[in-house]
């Protein structure tokens, strides 16, 4: 059982665990809209997958949880980040 973050409540979210992903090193292209504005920002993360996968809505919008962010951008303070699976690049197989 995982503790769901408050901001994920009421968003039709399912979180599962995929052991085959846990510990794999990845890079991921992230970003989000800037709150209250019309601009967004882009950022890149590097770390290891925890194995947790989040699916929101139908068709499912898939996200992977990234931790061990020691190689993450210097300006990021969180211990974990969810990244869109579409922009996750496996460093152990997929460096293109």
């Amino acid at each position: 059982m995982t503790n769901e973050p408050q901001e994920f409540l009421d968003q039709d979210i399912r979180i599962t665990f995929d052991e085959s992903l846990a510990g794999r090193p990845v890079e991921a292209d992230g970003g989000a809209p800037v709150p209250g504005g019309q601009a967004g920002f882009r950022t890149t993360f590097k770390g290891r997958l925890t194995g947790r996968r989040l699916a929101q809505g139908d068709p499912p919008w898939l996200w992977l949880e990234l931790a061990d962010l020691l190689e993450a951008p210097q300006d990021f303070e969180h211990a974990h980040v969810w990244v869109d699976e579409a922009y996750v690049y496996f460093l152990d197989e997929d460096r293109r």
Binding site: Q11, D12, G37, P59
Partner: protein, 365 residues
């Protein structure tokens, strides 16, 4: 038989007369560009689903069956965090700086500060439902990948476009079968990528060859020579943004339009002062204040946004023109006057035709 290089595959597939796509936050610009033969794409990032539905109806009434689109800033990453814990991480030095900035410059406390969106996924999904329900011809994702909704969009008759800043993002979108990839270079406004337009576009075009995905060039494009160059590089057209801010139809404030006319390419800078992440924008007293000697470092995302939300809201509410800004790209260099959007379209076409004619008339050595 003569071939019109400006009649690209984008024109064949979408029914536009010229391969010019205009991104704008004002629906009047969208209608004007679409009716002038291009494709207007409405930036609906800050609109609620009900506002968006009304905007779409308004545009449809004016453009009929001509092609237009809606762009959403789909998130690509989500950070968890307790707001109180994060607030505690904001250093006193930065708090004091912002307090001093407000006091010394008579920036009032705002009546209302917009809280951060804690339900980003849900809200994005609701907006998508409106786009599909209204059968908007094009859905463009201005940030994250739109691949997960491609099939649903196609089932509603909506084409899916994705804006990318890196070749690897383009590869993922092409592999997913996205209809159009917008390759956006470093020169662009807002959340620009790190690769230059002239480097990124040909690489993405090569990736897309034979796949059925079309490529649009973006970033720094404001005239017909750049349109011709983009088509020569293999793009099916151009995606433009900044150039429309100074059109008659744009709701951009008049003083911002004037600053767009006056700005040089090197004037628009990437500042972290608003969110903690670089956003290319027009210079302002607010952005400049963070660059002055003695100013503290900007904070990381999301702390900077939390720190400055009050001062930014105060500036906006008090309408302090010198302190306000707008995302803008280096294509400001192509803005010389306030003109009707249709005229901008026609001039770009004319310039591109001249450029092609000039090259065609050049004898080969």
């Amino acid at each position: 038989m003569t071939v019109d290089p400006l009649h690209t595959q984008l024109c064949d597939e979408y029914g536009c007369e010229v391969p010019i796509v205009a991104f704008a936050h004002t629906k009047d610009v969208i209608a004007a560009v679409t009716n002038a033969g291009g494709i207007g794409v409405f930036g609906a990032g800050s609109r609620t689903p009900s506002e968006l539905r009304s905007d779409i109806s308004w545009i449809k009434e004016r453009v009929g069956n001509k092609p237009f689109g809606v762009d959403l800033l789909m998130p690509a990453s989500l950070a968890e965090g307790n707001r109180e814990d994060l607030e505690a991480q904001i250093p006193q030095e930065q708090r004091d700086f912002v307090a001093r900035l407000m006091a010394e410059n008579n920036i009032p406390k705002p009546k209302e500060v917009q809280p951060p969106d804690g339900q980003m996924l849900k809200h994005a999904r609701e907006s998508l439902e409106v786009i599909f329900d209204e059968k908007v011809p094009i859905f463009a994702s201005g940030l994250g990948s739109p691949a997960f909704v491609k099939d649903e969009a196609h089932a509603h008759g909506t084409k899916v476009w994705g804006l990318v800043g890196l070749p690897r993002q383009a590869r993922r979108q092409i592999e997913a079968g996205v209809d159009v990839v917008i390759a956006q270079g470093y020169d662009s406004g807002g959340h620009s990528g790190t690769v230059g337009t002239f480097t990124l576009v040909p690489e993405v075009v090569a990736m897309a060859e034979g796949t059925g995905t079309l490529v649009l060039a973006a970033g720094g494009i404001s005239n017909g020579r750049q349109l011709a160059a983009s088509i020569t590089m293999g793009a099916a057209g151009v995606w433009t943004g900044t150039i429309w801010l100074a059109t008659h139809e744009s709701a951009t404030e008049m003083f911002i339009k004037q600053r767009l006319i006056e700005a040089r390419a090197e004037d628009v800078y990437q500042s972290r002062a608003m969110s903690g992440k670089p956003i290319r924008q027009l210079p302002s007293k607010y952005g400049d204040a963070w660059k002055q000697p003695g100013a503290p470092q900007t904070l990381q995302m999301p702390l900077q946004g939390m720190l400055v939300s009050e001062v930014l809201a105060g500036i906006k509410e008090a309408h302090m023109e010198d302190w306000m800004t707008s995302p803008a790209g280096q294509s400001v260099v192509g803005i010389h006057e306030i003109r009707p959007a249709a005229e901008v379209v026609y001039q770009m076409v004319e310039e591109a035709q001249d450029a092609f004619d000039r090259v065609a008339g050049t004898p080969v050595a």
